[in-house]
C-alpha cells in the first residue's frame, strides 16, 4: 500500500507537469460554470440542482481525458517495463494510478465550491443536497476513473484510450434516455445500469446503499478488468 501511495504521488505531480491538467480543469470549470449560471437567474432558485444534473455528462468527457495517459503513455514509451521491474506489484501500480486520478478529480471539484458559496450569499441554500451532490460526484469520478483506467490499459494510443473510455462512460450516462427503443424485458436492467438515476438520488441528499453499491461495483469492475488486461501482457 505504501508503494501505491508513492506511485499515486508521482502520478499526481505528473499531471501538473504537462499542460493537460490545466486544460482539463479550465474546460471543466468553463463548461459547468457557463451551463449552471446561464439558467441560474432565470430559474431564480437557490439550489445547485442544475449543476449536479449536468455533472454526469461533463464527467463522461472529462474523466477519460484525465485517465487516458495513465497506462497508454507508459506502454508507448516503454517506461512500463522500468516501472514494473521496480519492487512493486501490479496491484500497487493500478491502485496508485487510480488514486491519482481520483485525487485529480477532487482537485478539479474544489474550485466549484465557489458556486454553493455564491448561491448561499444570494438566497437560503439547503446544504444537505449540496453535500450529497459532492459525495455523489466523488463516487462518480472514482467509478469513471476505473473505467478510464481500463480503457487506457487496453491500448498504447492515448487518443484511442480517450475515445473508448468516453464511449463507455457516455453510454452509461445516456442509457436511460434511450429506453423507448428497448424491449420491455431489458427495461429494469438497463435502468439499473444507468448512471444518472443513481447519481441524482445521491445528489438529492438520499443516501441509498443500492446507489453506493452501484458506484462501488462499477469501480471494482473497471479496476479488476485493468488487472486482467495487464496480467495478459506478461
Amino acid at each position: 500500500m505504501r508503494q501505491a501511495l508513492r506511485i499515486c504521488r508521482k502520478e499526481f505531480q505528473a499531471y501538473f507537469l504537462s499542460p493537460i491538467a490545466y486544460i482539463v480543469i479550465a474546460i471543466f470549470l468553463l463548461v459547468t460554470g457557463w451551463f449552471f449560471f446561464s439558467t441560474f437567474f432565470l430559474l431564480n432558485q437557490a439550489s445547485l440542482r442544475n449543476f449536479f444534473g449536468l455533472l454526469p455528462t461533463v464527467f463522461a468527457f472529462v474523466t477519460p481525458a484525465v485517465t487516458m495517459r495513465l497506462f497508454a503513455e507508459e506502454l508507448s514509451i516503454g517506461s512500463y517495463e522500468t516501472l514494473l521491474t521496480l519492487p512493486v506489484t501490479n496491484r500497487d501500480v493500478i491502485a496508485g494510478k487510480f488514486l491519482a486520478s481520483c485525487a485529480f478529480i477532487t482537485a478539479m471539484l474544489v474550485p466549484t465550491l465557489a458556486y454553493p458559496v455564491t448561491v448561499s450569499l444570494l438566497g437560503s441554500l439547503d446544504w444537505g443536497p449540496v453535500a450529497g451532490g459532492y459525495l455523489g460526484a466523488l463516487l462518480l469520478g472514482a467509478a469513471f476513473s476505473a473505467i478510464g483506467l481500463l480503457a487506457s490499459a487496453l491500448t498504447r494510443n492515448q487518443i484511442v484510450a480517450f475515445i473508448v473510455g468516453m464511449a463507455i462512460c457516455f453510454g452509461l450516462t445516456l442509457v436511460d434516455q434511450m429506453l423507448f427503443f428497448v424491449p420491455r424485458a431489458l427495461l429494469g436492467t438497463l435502468t439499473y445500469l444507468a448512471v444518472d438515476s443513481h447519481f441524482q438520488n445521491i445528489a438529492k441528499g438520499i443516501l441509498d446503499t443500492r446507489d453506493i453499491v452501484y458506484f462501488l461495483s462499477l469501480g471494482f469492475i473497471g479496476l479488476y478488468g485493468t488487472s486482467l488486461v495487464l496480467k495478459a501482457k506478461h
Binding site: R6, I7, A14, T82, T85, L86, P87, V88, H234
Partner: protein, 311 residues
C-alpha cells in the same frame, strides 16, 4: 547467485527462448551475445520478472521468480533497452521517485542521488527534463536508476547501444567499476564490448545457448585455425608462393596486397602445428626484407559468425 534452468518462452506459437540453462556466480560479469532477435531481451525480461516464462525456473540467491518475485526485484537493478524513462519528469525528481520506491531511507536519499550523480556523471543535467536529454545522458540516468539501492545484481540490456565512442568507453568504465563487487549481466551485439568488459560470455542464437565460457577459452576452443600475416619487401610474389606454400602446416596462402615492392601475405594454418619457425628459416635464406610477421588467433567475431551462421 543466479541459476536459470531450462527457461523457455513462447510468444503464441513462436519460440523466443528455448530451454536456456545458465549459471552466474557472484561478482561475475556475464555478457549475453547474439544477433538481433536471438532472445537476449526476452531472457533478461524474464530474469527481471517482467515477463512470465512459459516453463523453466529462475533462482536468484534463494528466491524463485514464481513465488518471490518481489524479493528478487528488491535485490536486482534493471536497465531496459534504450532506457525508457518518464519524459516529462526532471532527472532529480525521477531519481527521487525511484529512491522512494526502492525504499532508500529519507535521510540518505539526497546523499545517494549525489553519489550516483558523481558515478554516472549526470550532475550537470540533474535539473533538466528527461525528454531534453541526449541519448547518452538518458542511458546514464537509466544506469543511475538501476543502481539506486546498490543492488546485488545488475541487469543491463544493451547499455551502450546508440552511444558515441567516447560515451561507450565511459559507460564500460562504469560497468567495470561496479563489476568489481556486483554481479552483472548485460546483453550486447557488439563483440569487442563483450571482450573488453566480460569475464564470461554466453552466445544465444535462435533462443538457444550455443556457447558459454570465458572469452579466452571461447577463442581457444573454437578458434582452432589461425592466420599468419607477413609483409615482405623486395620479394617476388610467385617466388614467395613457391617457397612458403610447401611449409608443413600451412593450408593456404593468399596475397592480400602488392604495392611497389611491398607484398602482404596471409597464411592459413592449423593452430596445433605452429609453422612459424620453419617460415622464418626459409625467409632468412632469401634476400627478402621481412617487415612484419605475426600470428593472429581467430577473433571473437569469427567465432560468433561461426556459431550463429544461418544453416
Amino acid at each position: 547467485m543466479i541459476r536459470v534452468e531450462r527457461l523457455t518462452k513462447y510468444y503464441h506459437d513462436t519460440c523466443a527462448v528455448d530451454h536456456i540453462t545458465l549459471d552466474v556466480r557472484q561478482g561475475e560479469i556475464l555478457g549475453l551475445l547474439g544477433p538481433n532477435g536471438a532472445g537476449k531481451t526476452t531472457t533478461l525480461r524474464m530474469l527481471t520478472g517482467f515477463l512470465k516464462p512459459t516453463s523453466g525456473t529462475i533462482r536468484v540467491k534463494d528466491y524463485t521468480i514464481d513465488e518471490q518475485a518481489l524479493e528478487i526485484k528488491k535485490i536486482l537493478g534493471y536497465l531496459p533497452e534504450s532506457a525508457p524513462l518518464y519524459h516529462d519528469m526532471l532527472v532529480y525528481d525521477y531519481l527521487q521517485f525511484v529512491a522512494d520506491i526502492r525504499g532508500v531511507a529519507p535521510a540518505r536519499k539526497r546523499a545517494r542521488i549525489g553519489e550516483l550523480g558523481d558515478l554516472c556523471g549526470i550532475n550537470e543535467v540533474m535539473h533538466q527534463p528527461i525528454s531534453e536529454l541526449s541519448k547518452g545522458y538518458k542511458q546514464r540516468v537509466g544506469l543511475a536508476h538501476a543502481m539506486m539501492n546498490d543492488p546485488e545484481v545488475l541487469v543491463l540490456d544493451e547499455p551502450t547501444s546508440g552511444l558515441d565512442p567516447n560515451q561507450i568507453v565511459e559507460i564500460r568504465e562504469i560497468i567495470r567499476q561496479i563489476g568489481r563487487e556486483k554481479t552483472i549481466i548485460f546483453s550486447t551485439h557488439i563483440l569487442s564490448e563483450a571482450e573488453a568488459t566480460c569475464d564470461r560470455v554466453a552466445i544465444i542464437h535462435h533462443g538457444k545457448i550455443v556457447a558459454d565460457s570465458s572469452t579466452a577459452q571461447l577463442k581457444e576452443t573454437l578458434g582452432d585455425r589461425s592466420r599468419i600475416l607477413i609483409t615482405l619487401a623486395q620479394a617476388d610474389a610467385a617466388a614467395v608462393q613457391r617457397e612458403l606454400a610447401t611449409v608443413t602446416g600451412v593450408s593456404s596462402l593468399a596475397v592480400l596486397e602488392q604495392t611497389d615492392g611491398h607484398l602482404r601475405l596471409q597464411l592459413e594454418c592449423a593452430l596445433a602445428a605452429d609453422p612459424r619457425p620453419e617460415i622464418y628459416r626459409r625467409i632468412k635464406q632469401t634476400s627478402w626484407v621481412l617487415l612484419d610477421f605475426h600470428l593472429e588467433t581467430q577473433s571473437l567475431e569469427a567465432v560468433f559468425r561461426e556459431l550463429t551462421k544461418e544453416s
